[in-house]
């Protein structure tokens, strides 16, 4: 029974980490959209390349923060959470 409970904890953590990484898709799409729009803008007004690149870089950096949050959560769920949850379970059943 204990093995089953530990298995459920480990499975839940792995599943949670996988779900958290869904947030990694968003920055990819966002960056792609930003680059596409920047390409268009530079094509229309090549003299604005500097300011367009700056804005795009900043936008991409902001968009990527979400992915980084997800990555940190996933890493914590994989490496830190299982040990803590198993300890809590073992303490609860004495």
């Amino acid at each position: 029974m204990l093995e089953l409970a530990i298995g459920i904890i480990l499975g839940g953590c792995a599943l949670g980490a996988g779900c958290a990484m869904i947030a990694g898709i968003g920055p990819g799409i966002g960056e792609g959209t930003a680059v596409a729009a920047a390409c268009e803008a530079i094509g229309r007004q090549p003299e604005c390349k500097g300011s367009v690149t700056t804005t795009m870089l900043m936008g991409c950096a902001v968009a990527e923060t979400t992915g980084l949050y997800a990555l940190v959560i996933a890493i914590l769920l994989i490496f830190v959470a299982p040990g803590r949850f198993v300890n809590i379970l073992l303490e609860a059943i004495g």
Partner: protein, 132 residues
């Protein structure tokens, strides 16, 4: 290797300065609360350094994507994104498994470039408001 765009150099320099300032601030906070140790400094250096490298690599990826057609740009951005994510994941795993690095300062330092971008955006917004 393609020439580095001056805009990317300038922005990476700005981000590096922001990361330095925020790192000094974090070290000061750790000192004040009495929890400073070498692992905090090393974790901070690792996280901050990789944060700056990540921003620079993102800039390089976007620069090379700008010079390509739509399909090539998509492939370049997706490749750059995946590689950078793997780099960040590797750093987090390293910080967790190697005892000389503390995990929390490493994670916090990885967010410093984003904080720098938020600060810059905020300053630009305020500048725009003042001008009008």
């Amino acid at each position: 290797m393609s020439k580095i765009d001056p805009t990317i150099k300038k922005e990476t320099g700005y981000i590096a300065i922001t990361v330095l300032i925020l790192s000094a601030l974090m070290e000061a906070v750790y000192l004040i609360i009495g929890r400073w140790e070498l692992g905090v400094l090393l974790g901070n250096l690792l996280g901050g350094g990789v944060g700056i490298l990540n921003f620079f690599l993102m800039g390089m990826g976007l620069q090379s994507a700008l010079n390509k057609d739509e399909k090539g740009a998509k492939a370049t951005v997706s490749f750059s994104h995946t590689m950078r994510f793997m780099l960040l994941a590797g750093v987090l795993v390293l910080a967790y498994f190697v005892d000389i690095f503390k995990l929390l300062p490493t994670v916090l330092a990885l967010f410093f470039p984003s904080i720098g971008v938020y600060i810059k955006t905020f300053l630009i917004k305020n500048k725009g408001k003042d001008a009008t």
